[in-house]
């Protein structure tokens, strides 16, 4: 008896190759973006990141990035991200900076080990503005001994697992700094005016150091990268999505659907309803080896295939 999914590739044989390829690319881009943003939701929960605790506080040590400008070999420091009362507070303290120099930094969604350290900036609303308060930026000026601290807070809470890393740059000249005193700490909000950097604007030569928060991937045991399966018109965008894991890892994926249906993960036999235009997340340990279908139960439509290798 052959599993009935056998027909999945034969389906829509009339669809043109170009169309399939475009869909594929699109889906990949969407998936990558979402995955990056939603990265490692389960990571903090599994304790994969050393500096995390139950109430959502994570911290990481600054390390000079590859290709950092000279003079930062002795840089040390720590970044702490604290989630409390629906808000987020980030504290930075650094030593080994150049004297009396202006720096800036951002919360990134990825880990320090990415080719572009930290990956893209963290955004509360993925399609929203590149400015605070949708992103978290801070400014820091070192003192006469090369030390500097900064504190920045946001009224919104950075979702668990999405605070990848803090990346420190030299301040760009067209940036203006507005400060407001809150208590004995200076809260600095970094404001871009007029022309602002796009992602490429931060050349590698600008970047100095990176502190890993929750963005570690690959190297961190038990890391789970949440993948997203997008369903449009009741069909998976880009064809049946392949999700591959090793036994013992955390299987984490999200289904975004424009139709309401029940999502059924075969073998593990998990069922969850997804509303039209909504999304639903699955997260469970990969404890059964083999190949399993994920399908829209009501429509009998396979949307993903989970492979768990020994």
């Amino acid at each position: 008896m052959r599993a009935h999914g056998a027909g999945k590739v034969r389906r829509r044989a009339h669809a043109s190759i170009e169309e399939e390829m475009t869909l594929n690319k699109h889906a990949k881009r969407v998936a990558t973006l979402l995955a990056a943003l939603a990265a490692t939701g389960a990571l903090a929960a599994c304790g994969g990141s050393g500096g995390s605790d139950d109430d959502g506080t994570v911290s990481g040590q600054f390390e000079p990035v590859e290709g950092a400008p000279g003079g930062y070999a002795n840089l040390t420091g720590e970044a702490t991200l604290e989630r409390a009362d629906g808000g987020t507070e980030i504290s930075i303290s650094l030593d080994g900076l150049k004297f009396d120099t202006a720096y800036e930094g951002h919360l990134h969604s990825g880990g320090c080990d990415q080719a572009d350290p930290g990956g893209p900036h963290f955004k509360f609303d993925p399609s929203g503005s590149e400015e605070p308060p949708n992103e978290i930026h801070f400014d820091l000026v070192s003192n006469g001994e090369g030390e500097g601290t900064a504190k920045v807070s946001s009224k919104r809470e950075v979702p668990q697992g999405e605070a990848g890393s803090i990346v420190l740059h030299l301040a760009a000249e067209d940036d203006e700094v507005s400060s407001s005193a809150t208590g004995d700490e200076v809260e600095t909000v970094f404001v871009h005016e007029g022309e602002h950097h796009d992602d490429e604007g931060h050349g590698a030569e600008d970047e100095i150091a990176c502190a890993e928060l929750e963005g570690g991937s690959g190297a961190t045991a038990g890391a789970a990268t949440e993948k997203t399966v997008v369903v449009e018109n009741g069909e998976p965008v880009g064809g049946v999505q392949e999700l591959e894991y090793s036994a013992g890892e955390e299987i984490a994926f999200r289904v975004e659907s424009d139709v309401a249906d029940e999502i059924h993960v075969h073998g593990y036999d998990l069922m969850k309803d997804v509303p039209a235009g909504g999304s639903i997340s699955f997260s469970f340990p990969a404890e059964i080896e083999g190949i399993f279908e994920v399908e829209l139960e009501g429509r009998a439509e396979q949307i993903a295939e989970i492979r768990v290798n020994p």
Binding site: H4, R10, A247, I291
Partner: protein, 464 residues
């Protein structure tokens, strides 16, 4: 909540492809063993006589006496009835309906395993044989004489069984497609097919006699009987006995059409295994040509799969016949017809190995369903809980993917070795000089290596 067609596959889990390194090890061992077999061949046949000897009379009386035989027949008829009823009246969710798992897993895959281990156990449970014998006995009682029957045309031999076997797998895999998607046969169609087959089988039994038809035409009896030839237990003259394993197989293929049955067995398993791997590209290509030619999706897919299934039969048959042709060139060879049926039994272990390699995990998983919720709730409508197990599920963790791989590759390697042993033994009968016999076996060796490596290849690309 669901009113739309169910999408459950019968199989909720598919096997991972055998990794490349294991494929390489398997193939290497096969080649090394094969060359070793050539040099270390024995000189006198050892498996021509099965040396059957009876077990104690008490054992035979208990197992073969009418009370137990009648009970087995009753159980067989009852289960057939449940399968047909569940198929016709039960849920259309394949994995919740008793009919599909019972017919295509428990019976179809279970009995070959049982037959090798315990002998021809399908015989007492065969529902059509039980019904036929009962009808025959009633007729004798009423009419005072046995029913007249036609002489079975001997030339037909086991061809009806070979065709039945292909038709069964065709129904299972090819027929069950809709809108260009293979969905597997649905329970209702399986129920109807079981009814139609029952009518046909009972009619044939009435025409040619119950035992005659079971021996030649009833494909399940023939198919399971073929595998029972490999095992140690056999009934002779009303007594149960033990015999030398494998030896009985050497005389099985003397009935015409037997070669076709073995080839069909290997071909159908290959086709099932290759559909998701080796042949996927080809099947898609042909399917698209048919769509372009204006055929409907369902018809085009069925046609494509039918053609590929026929190609499998032709391909497996061709490889075997080439080997036979090759042996004919060796000095002192018997006729082509003799060779053709003379070595067919050496393919039975290969057929069995294919079966184990492709379906072992499914049997392990789906029998859990069979003996829990499917037995308690045969219709799958949550209306009954006969044994209190209706809410059980399948534990997929009972065997790991690695275990499955080792069983798959191990089965193929062992099947290969046993096939070589049987072929070498038979060659010693045909060629007086053992050197000629060994030379003839270069050809069979090539055939076996081809089948085994093809089997390994199928495993390594399945679902890849």
């Amino acid at each position: 909540m669901t009113v739309l067609p169910f999408a459950h596959a019968l199989v909720a889990r598919e096997d991972l492809p055998v990794p490349a390194w294991l494929f390489a090890w398997g193939a290497s061992i096969v080649l090394i063993v094969s060359f070793f077999a050539l040099s270390a061949g024995w000189r006198r046949p050892r498996f021509e006589e099965d040396r059957w000897r009876p077990l104690g009379a008490g054992v035979s009386r208990a197992l073969l006496g009418w009370p137990l035989q009648a009970l087995c027949g009753l159980v067989g008829v009852l289960l057939l009835g449940v399968a047909v009823y569940a198929g016709l009246r039960g849920t259309e969710a394949p994995d919740r309906n008793f009919a599909l798992t019972f017919i295509f897993v428990t019976v179809w895959l279970g009995f070959p395993l049982l037959s090798v281990l315990l002998g021809d156990v399908f015989r007492p449970f065969n529902p059509w044989r039980a019904l036929g014998r009962t009808a025959g006995a009633l007729f004798r009682t009423v009419a005072g004489q046995p029913a007249a029957r036609l002489a079975y045309p001997q030339r037909l031999g086991r061809w009806p069984a070979a065709i039945g076997l292909m038709a069964f797998v065709w129904l299972e895999i090819v027929y069950g497609s809709s809108g260009g998607v293979v969905v597997g046969v649905d329970p209702h169609a399986a129920g109807v097919a079981a009814l139609v087959y029952s009518v046909y089988t009972l009619a044939m039994m009435a025409l040619f006699g119950v035992e005659e038809w079971c021996e030649r035409g009833e494909f399940l009896s023939v198919y399971f009987g073929m595998f029972s030839q490999l095992g140690s237990f056999a009934v002779k003259g009303g007594r149960l006995g033990v015999r030398r394993p494998l030896a009985a197989a050497s005389h099985w293929a003397t009935v015409p059409g037997s070669t076709a049955v073995v080839i069909a067995s290997i071909a159908t398993t290959s086709f099932d295994g290759a559909g998701e791997g080796a042949f996927k590209g080809g099947i898609e290509w042909l399917f698209e040509r048919f769509i372009d030619a204006g055929l409907g999706l369902t018809f085009a897919l069925r046609l494509t799969d039918t053609i590929f299934m026929a190609l499998c039969f032709a391909g497996v048959g061709l490889v075997y016949l080439l080997g036979v042709r090759g042996m004919r060139t060796i000095h002192g060879a018997p006729s082509l017809a003799t060779l053709r049926s003379g070595f067919a039994h050496a393919l039975i272990p290969i057929a069995f190995a294919y079966l184990v390699a492709h379906y072992f995990s499914q049997v392990v998983f789906l029998e859990q369903a069979q003996f829990t919720y499917l037995l308690s709730d045969p219709l799958g409508t949550a209306s009954t809980d006969l044994f209190g197990t209706a809410s059980s599920g399948i534990d997929f963790k009972v065997i790991s993917a690695t275990t499955i791989w080792y069983v798959q590759v191990g089965a193929l390697v062992v099947g290969h070795v046993v096939g070589l042993v049987l072929a070498h033994d038979r060659a010693l009968v045909y060629w007086r000089d053992y050197r000629d016999a060994t030379r003839s076996q270069y050809w069979m060796l090539a055939v076996m290596v081809a089948f085994t490596c093809f089997g390994l290849y199928l495993l390594s690309v399945a679902n890849a």
